[in-house]
Amino acid sequence: MNPAPPVVVSGVSKTFQRARDRSPVEALKDVSLNLRANTFVTLLGPSGCGKTTLLRMINGLIKPDSGQVLVFGEPPKPGPRIGFVFQSFRLIPWLTVRNNVGFGLSLQGVDQGEKNDRVEYYLKLVGLSRFADVYPHELSGGMKQRAALARALVTEPEILLMDEPFASLDAQVRELMQMEMMRLWSERKSIVLFVTHSVDEAVIMADQIVLMGPRPGRIVETIDVTLPRPRWDAEIRMRRDFVELRGYLWNRIREMVMRDPSSDFYTGESDSI
């Protein structure tokens, strides 16, 4: 028999109770997902379909109401083995870039010498060595996200959860960061679960795309991406299989959004467009 995959999500549901007279939200319903070692998985789906909830659950920040999440065979606990990168960077404003990157190591009480070496290494890896001693507010958006990435990488996690990490960057910086991320990942593979709203981003980065749908949050489809790597040249976006996959995903998401009564684009039950 094959060994169990490192991350196993089986039949997980989560409902959030809300303040009086508002109905509870089924953020996730019967979600099952396995993540294989060394795969880059992108999680794609309309707003509110439970992507962030699923990430927080795999990190161990929240527990499922029913079903089970196993990471390396155990219920997950937040810690250095599972990195988390957030859309809003979440750098600590009163710490320098160096100390932000070293934050996880200092939580674990790693000794000063080793900590410095590792921080130095990851600062260099993301190209921030020159900015080690400045405070986050002096950095551009792209630099902030690279600092946040270094902070997540410095504990050398086996699983990296990324929640729309590039969503607040402008289009050019975003594409550069995608390339950067793929370079980092190809140098040191790990499981990456990467949430995005961008179909292009989902396709270009992924070994596997997990498509989710809203209300209740669920997995609609899982697609393996067989485009060859590396994918840094622009030609990749002109390949026929890229264009077809992209078109297909677009249509699926559009359908979901238009059939969702609580979305801004709801067009009624019949889809006549």
């Binding site: 937040p78 939580l107 400045v134």
Partner: protein, 257 residues
């Protein structure tokens, strides 16, 4: 460089404003009459006399003693209690309505009670200053911790931070600017209460001199005391502003680079 130029312009403007203020003072004193509002010059000569005679030194020291003791006590008590109330949620929820009620009560109302317990000496005065300063310091600390950034806390949690690590590394440093704000408000109220205490208990210090000169219409000397109080207030708030700048140094762009 442009900002340096601007800063020196501000200094010039400030001097101009000071000269303008002196002029205005002088004109008013001429219009109202020198026996009600002394001219700047006669105030200056009164100051020279009071300082030279050593008559202001002792009250000044006595006021500063009361003020500093009461304020120091308020810092030493207010910050830790605020930290406890912020760190232990249930304790904070239990106590905060009482603290807020105390904040809203004019604390001068407690002076008769304090006199009853501590008499009219320096202990009572220090208690009045303490009571005025401690509540804003406590509330500043407490609300700073309550206002901590939920996103940063979640980030720290996702990295496996323990509750105490989150408290010491995220919540408390994040509360610093609120603490300093509490310290500033506490310093102002403390100074007010110093004078109030000196007027209401055994008259002494600068407050005592205010009463003495005010009641006997020695207006030039009275003005010297008022200016001395203004000077203390100005120095204290300048010192705390420096503390504030230090506490928020990460917000300010460092030179160079």
């Amino acid at each position: 460089m442009a900002t340096g130029l601007k800063a020196s312009m501000i200094t010039v403007y400030r001097l101009l404003a000071f000269v303008l203020f002196l002029l205005l003072w002088w004109v008013i004193s001429l219009v109202v009459g020198e026996n009600l509002i002394p001219t700047p010059l006669s105030t200056l000569s009164a100051a020279q006399y009071l300082i030279g005679d050593g008559r202001i030194a002792q009250p000044l020291l006595s006021s500063l003693g009361v003020y500093c003791s009461g304020y120091a006590l308020a810092v030493v008590v207010g910050i830790p209690i605020g930290m406890l109330m912020g760190g232990i949620r249930d304790l904070g929820r239990t106590l905060d309505i009482y603290v807020n009620a105390l904040m809203a009560t004019p604390r001068v109302a407690f002076i008769p009670l304090i006199i009853l317990f501590l008499g009219l000496g320096p202990e009572a005065k220090i208690a009045v200053v303490f009571l005025g300063a401690v509540i804003p310091i406590l509330i500043g600390t407490y609300s700073g911790i309550l206002n901590s950034d939920a996103e940063l806390i979640e980030m720290a949690r996702s990295m496996g931070a323990t509750r105490s690590q989150i408290y010491w590394r995220i919540m408390l440093p994040g509360a610093l600017s609120f603490v300093v704000m509490g310290l500033r408000i506490g310093a102002t109220i403390g100074l007010i209460n110093t004078v109030v205490a000196e007027l209401y208990t055994a008259a002494s210090g600068l407050g005592g001199l205010l009463a003495l000169y005010g009641n006997t219409f020695q207006m030039a000397r009275y003005f010297v005391v008022v200016l001395a109080l203004a000077l203390i207030g100005g120095l204290v708030s300048q010192g705390l502003r420096m503390l504030e700048n230090w506490a928020s140094r990460w917000r300010v762009t460092t030179a160079g680079n």
